[in-house]
Amino acid sequence: MSTFRNLVKPYMLWMGIFIVIPMLLIIFYAFTSEGNSVITVKFTLDNFIKFFDSVYIKVLIKSLQIAFVTTIICIIVGYPISYVIANTSSKVQTLLMLLITIPMWINTLVKTYAWISVLSDNGIINSLLVKLGLAPISMMYTDFAVILGMVYNFLPFMILEIYTALAKMDKGLIDASSDLGANKVQTFQKVIFPLSLSGVISGITLVFLPSVSTFVIPKLLGGGQYMLIGNLIENQFITVGEWNFGSAISLIMAMIILISMYFTRKFDQDKVENGNKKEVKHA
């Protein structure tokens, strides 16, 4: 209906200004060098070459490592929790999921700040340890604190995704499996886990990719020496003032994430297709 089609045109204009142009600006800054006016633009790959220095590659690798560890922990901790919740009665499920999702809606800064006073050297945990006569542990400004903060922030998302996948599952399949002689472990391995995999993958998308680019949690809990990619970008723009280099890093990171998302989508689609094929075969 052409009349309705026109409704999208104003938004296309908006997108052009607020989505396309910003990206073009980042690309522009990334490929030019400092101190250029519109007339004397100098195109260069220097900003990218600068990034491929071992120091900055280390930052990228560390970001990927932290994101990876966070995601793995979220899966290992989140899956059992989702599984248990999915197997409770419907009323309890609603209650538990409500309790799990409330922290999701609380402001990230507020949540992370709350952890500072818990983990601090003179914070609550250490005060307790001292009272019990034990030695205090220095937890702030460590990998532990950062990963803890990240897991705390992202775990509800993982639980939500896995739970949704588990809850949607056709219980009939589980019954069928045990009718055909499989024990609980086999049923889990061959029926439940594969079918819940899409939930795990959605969870990974919601946890891994934002973790790579986060800078608030590392900054608050990790201190100035915690340089992840997000911190590096912020540092280049706000403190150092190297907008060109900062844009190049932003572009690299955006590319990494967009490509990862593309592959996760493909993987998910393939899984669904293959999964359907398998079902047809067995049936």
Binding site: V55, N122, S138, G224, Q225, L232, Q236, T239, G241
Partner: protein, 349 residues
């Protein structure tokens, strides 16, 4: 459906009006350091001049500069000496009309007419001080501190017990001084040596790089040694008697933070009123007492550091004047970039 639209419109209107209220009074935009003023002073100024003050804070001169270059408009800035030098060189400031700043006469001698702004054409001092080592006397021997000076930060006996301020200039100043060089050196070899010194500290000492969060952390004795600005040290020492402050013999940075008026300020009259207000004896006394930094106003300095004063005998409140190895920063764009880049690399490691 119509009800929803009506409700939405009313809400929109109410919220927009609410959000835009307070636009009627004249406004003064001040951009200064965090925790650098007694909030009551802002309120008192607003009441006395019937204006609204928008007070925004930054964590470093570099951050302030970036925001300024990004197009933000302020009426009063409070940068440090070398940044003022840079802003003057880049023609970003207006001249200050000293005839409107009567309280200028009350300033201490050592703090005016310095090399970053001869004749104080563009700036009026706000607070000043030095950079030194704050240490816990129960954990670190005073003799050790005095003997090792800046190299204490590399002393592996205190591994894991050190806070270092996350500021590229200050850390390079420390490294250069520890190696016996001038903090304003343009010699690449010396700078590289300083970078190596810092890398060594980063590798062997497990230092924690902090900004203002170091203040409460040291009051709570979370670590034993910290690089500290004199004013923060003075404050901490009033809150925790075990803490002491030392300015190393290798020399340190004598700095001044001063008030300037950006070229694009439209509220020049009010800006001058603010600057003058900050130097008023009572206001400056309240301010210095609250923040802990040394006031440039002679009468206030005498009162605070003198007999019965709040900071009597407080080593951190009294800046070391006339010590030849103490230097003020000079701005050098190229070196600044080099140092900024090096510091990012050291932190990324």
């Amino acid at each position: 459906m119509k009800k929803i639209i009506k409700l939405g419109a009313v809400l929109l209107l109410a919220v927009t009006m609410f959000g835009c209220s307070g636009d009627t009074k004249e406004q003064l935009k001040v951009y200064s350091w965090g925790v650098y003023i007694d909030p009551e002073i802002i309120t008192e100024f607003e009441n006395e001049y019937d204006v609204k003050v928008i007070y925004d804070t930054f964590e470093s001169n570099e951050q302030m500069y970036t925001k300024l270059m990004g197009g933000e408009k302020y009426d009063v800035l409070v940068p440090s000496d070398y940044m003022i030098e840079r802003l003057i060189a880049e023609d970003q400031l207006q001249e200050v009309d000293l005839t409107k700043i009567e309280n200028f006469a009350g300033l201490m001698e050592g703090v005016t007419d310095l090399s970053y702004d001869p004749g104080n054409k563009y700036s009026v001092p706000y607070f000043w001080g030095t950079v030194g080592l704050l240490y816990n006397t129960t954990a670190v021997d005073q003799a050790v501190v005095e003997q090792q000076g800046w190299n204490l930060l590399a002393n592996t006996d205190y591994k894991g017990k050190v806070f270092i301020y996350d500021s590229e200039r200050d850390v390079f100043m420390i490294a250069l001084k520890a190696l016996g060089y001038s903090m304003n050196t343009v010699d690449q070899a010396e700078i590289d040596e300083a970078a190596a010194w810092l890398t060594n500290v980063d590798d062997t000492m497990e230092p924690v790089y902090v900004t203002d969060d170091v203040i409460d952390a040291m009051i709570a004795e979370n670590k034993d040694i910290a690089v500290m600005y004199s004013g923060d040290a003075a404050y901490i020492m009033t809150e925790n008697e075990d803490m002491n402050f030392f300015m190393p013999e290798e020399g340190t940075n004598l700095w001044v933070d001063a008030m300037v008026i950006p070229k694009e300020s439209t509220n020049v009259e009010l800006a001058h009123a603010w600057i003058n207000y900050m130097l008023d004896e009572e206001v400056a006394a309240t301010n210095s007492s609250y923040v802990g930094y040394t006031s440039p106003v002679q009468a206030v300095y005498d009162e605070m550091s003198g007999v019965g004063g709040e900071y009597e005998g407080n080593v951190a409140y009294i800046p070391r004047l006339g010590y030849e190895l103490d230097e003020t920063f000079h701005n050098n764009e190229d070196i600044r970039k080099v140092i900024a880049d090096l510091w990012t690399r050291i932190k990324s490691n």
